[in-house]
């Protein structure tokens, strides 16, 4: 019989007028994995921050092992055996794993790094981690760093573990390994809370699921008695179809060829090494890879925003078939060639849009030079802004609202809307659904699909492999700046792509 390790009753947290959590209750038992499921902005992280002592609840009660507790600080949380593994690691790069684990933990007696290493090895063996305690953090992969974070909280004797989006940065193989470890910790009697918005992971790992929506507690269900469709409905609040209509490419033509592309970063490392591929019209080319494998540099090189050390970028004009070299051309020179190249960058407000300007002025970014006078033409961008707000259902008080006031999904609609308004022949999008809710994500997928049907060559950098496999026609895998393979998306296996993501490139 399991007993409650942690119980939250009617917890409420406000930020100004915003209700981040309203009357949320949740229980996690010993020897259980609980998923907290919700879209971005549903209050998952706020709730977890209240458990780990970063915020203090306005109302409600927290019980640990049946006793009410007040958690005022992260140290209080530690003392109650709560350990949080944050999405962004908090480790000192130049220290070893053992040093990071011992850091800030006042053990009685003399500090003995050997003793720490020994204990770390014991914990590793017990749960099946694979970690060298003397390895420095800067030499570690993302998954190893995560391991250090998990061992750190176990070392301090945590019985309740909270993991915030732990799989976001992992390959499928690494995720599988992590899940195995989580299961062995569960079997050891630990209570584990995992925050995620990936449904298949919820179904795979957890025993029960608590669903939040817009700060409200919706329900808690047993994983074995639910399914993907039901969970989505609870999470979104209405039925959504989770199908991406992938049409067969119509008459694909060579549109963009990249050959032997090499880009060297200011610190002298090769961020792109001998990359080559062809993107065809009427197709979506997906680019997969661990974050920071050269995706950003690749798209920026094509868009004319990176210095290219070597290689060729050739564009084939759809009407004349003429080949144009885009290498080392500025974005304006590229447009002057008649190339309709659109780019939805990863950093929306820092690169694609100006946060303090309103929607109309942001539309003008692409068109402000039009017209022969020295004055701006405000009418066309204004009507474009009105059109985008209406067609893409952008939620905004008006088109003269600064875009930084909009929610993430609406910001992205504004950006994508502007970029596709020029009927691009090449459309590049980097992580276009990051941080978006399900409805907005599917709207973006549909927009990309429509561009594909219109004959654009679409290049889509994504992180969710399931989506890449479902949406794209081809998947190119980058690993440390090299191409480790390009495969047809239809019938592709996640595990196969995962292996290519970590492989040394050809």
């Amino acid at each position: 019989m399991s007993t409650a390790a942690l119980e939250l009753k009617n917890v409420t947290k406000r930020f100004g007028n915003i209700l981040a959590n309203n009357n949320v209750s949740l229980t996690v038992n010993k020897g259980e994995i609980l998923s907290v499921l919700g879209e971005n902005g549903s209050g998952k992280t706020t709730l977890m921050n209240m458990i780990s002592g970063i915020y203090y609840p306005d109302e409600g009660h927290i019980y640990i092992d049946g006793k009410e507790v007040l958690i005022h600080s992260p140290r209080d949380a530690f003392n109650h055996g709560i350990g949080m593994i944050h999405q962004h690691f908090k480790l000192v790069d130049v220290f070893s794993a053992a040093e990071n684990i011992a850091l800030g933990f006042d053990e009685p007696g003399r500090f003995d790094l050997k003793e720490v290493s020994k204990k770390v090895s014991e914990i590793s063996k017990k749960y099946g981690f694979n970690l060298d305690p003397s390895k420095k953090i800067y030499a570690m992969s993302v998954s190893e760093k995560q391991t250090v974070e998990i061992i750190k909280v176990l070392y301090r004797g945590a019985d309740i573990l909270i993991l915030d989006e732990p799989t976001a940065v992992l390959t499928p193989q690494e995720t599988e390994k992590l899940f195995k470890i989580l299961r062995s910790m569960r079997d050891d009697g630990k209570a584990i809370i995992i925050i995620t918005h990936k449904l298949h992971e919820v179904l795979e790992i957890s025993d029960r699921v608590t669903i939040l929506r817009k700060g409200e507690y919706i329900d808690t269900v047993e994983t074995s008695k639910t399914n993907e469709a039901e969970l989505t409905e609870m999470m979104v609040g209405k039925k959504v179809s989770l199908n991406i209509d992938r049409t067969e490419p119509k008459d694909p033509q060579k549109r963009l060829t990249i050959q032997n592309l090499t880009v060297i970063s200011p610190d002298g490392t090769k961020v792109l090494d001998n990359v080559g591929f062809t993107a065809k019209s009427g197709e979506i080319l997906g680019i997969a890879g661990i974050a920071g494998s050269g995706q950003r540099e690749l798209l920026e090189a094509v868009a004319g925003l990176q210095n290219i050390a070597d290689g060729k970028i050739t564009y084939f004009d759809p009407s004349s078939g003429k080949a144009e070299s885009l290498r080392n051309k500025t974005p304006l020179q590229i447009r002057d060639l008649g190339v309709r190249l659109s780019f939805v960058p990863e950093d929306r407000l820092g690169m694609g849009l100006v946060g303090n300007m309103d929607i109309t002025d942001n539309m003008m970014l692409r068109s402000y030079k039009s017209g022969k006078t020295v004055f701006l033409e405000k009418k066309p961008p204004k009507s474009l802004a009105e059109k985008i707000v209406e067609e893409l259902e952008v939620v905004t008080p008006s088109i003269s609202t600064p875009v930084r006031r909009l929610s993430g999904g609406n910001v992205q609609k504004v950006l994508v809307g502007r970029e596709i308004s020029s009927n691009p022949t090449v459309l590049m999008a980097a992580y276009p659904v990051r941080g978006l809710d399900i409805n907005s994500s599917y709207l973006i997928y549909n927009l990309l699909n429509r561009q594909k049907e219109n004959g654009a060559a679409v290049i889509f950098v994504g992180e969710d492999l399931d989506v890449l496999i479902e949406l794209c026609d081809w998947i190119l895998v980058l690993s440390s700046g090299r191409v480790s393979g390009m495969i047809p998306a239809r019938g592709a296996k996640k595990e196969e792509i995962g292996l290519m993501m970590t492989a040394r490139g050809k």
Binding site: G355, K369, F375
Partner: protein, 356 residues
Amino acid sequence: MHIIKRAAMPSWKAWLIRLAAILLSLIVSGLFVMFVTKLNPISVYIEMWKGAFGSSRKIWNTAQGTAILLCISLAVTPAFKMRFWNIGAEGQVMAGCIGTAAVMILFGNKLPTFWLMVCMVAASVASGIIWALIPAIFKANWNTNETLFTLMMNYVAIQIASYLSTVWENPAGSAHIGVINMNTGKGWFPAIFGHEQTINILIVAVLTAVMFVYLKYSKHGYEIAVVGESENTARYVGMNVKKVILRTMALSGAICGIAGLIIVAGKDHSLSTTSAGGQGFTAIMVSWLAKFNPLMMILTSLLIVFLERGAGAIATSFRINDSIADIVTGIILFFIIGCEFFVNYKIVFGNKGAKQ
């Protein structure tokens, strides 16, 4: 106690807060004056008002002072909108003064009036541009710190003026430049409608309208705003960031040059190390207070000039220390700037609704 950011506030409410701040600042500085000097604060305020607007001559001078300060504020605004922290307006104005004075002294008796004026305008604008472009070139090419660079350029300009005071000293042996072309009036701006201030005010009025349109409705103005908000975005859409920086600083320098022209040819008819008189720095405050809006700057520069002249007047008429006047000015400015906090944020006391 929490500080909470407000959602957008209706503008009438924001103006009510600003009005309340001004009233409150008058009360606080009145109490201060009464407490320290035992003077009646009401009569102090009346004296202040009289100092700035007491006679037709004073009104003209206040208007001219406002125009010159406004002109320099217009100059620093495009650079600030671009987040280029140009605190070298002082030096750029000095450069304009030097250029103007040089032409007046060297060519005053050699050129016909029309060509003399053309040369003065060209010299002042060119000197202002050179003074502004030097730091801009270093910033655009090597990303040097523009704040320090422009600040240092101020002292260079002032030292040059100091050196020239000995070269062009008048009368001989005085080590300063007296009134230039005192007998001939060559290169002096003509009086219009009987007042020599009119032409200065007109020049600045035209400049204000032009800058308002330039910043708000021109393609250049849009480029300045985008580069200021995010250089990455500017590059992403293909703007030539370097070119925008250089062009905008050249514009800044040119307007500073014109301010120098007005000071020398329209007002002082002389050159000294204090020709710019710190207004290059005051202008920064004028520009920020008006949130970079040229039309609002008319009000903010008037406010600053009024405070300066009014404070000077109470210092002389009550024979009190100059510092009291500065303190009163300081209190009033503190309230006016500080009230913006209450426009953007609100303070909530206690922990409403919290139960434990």
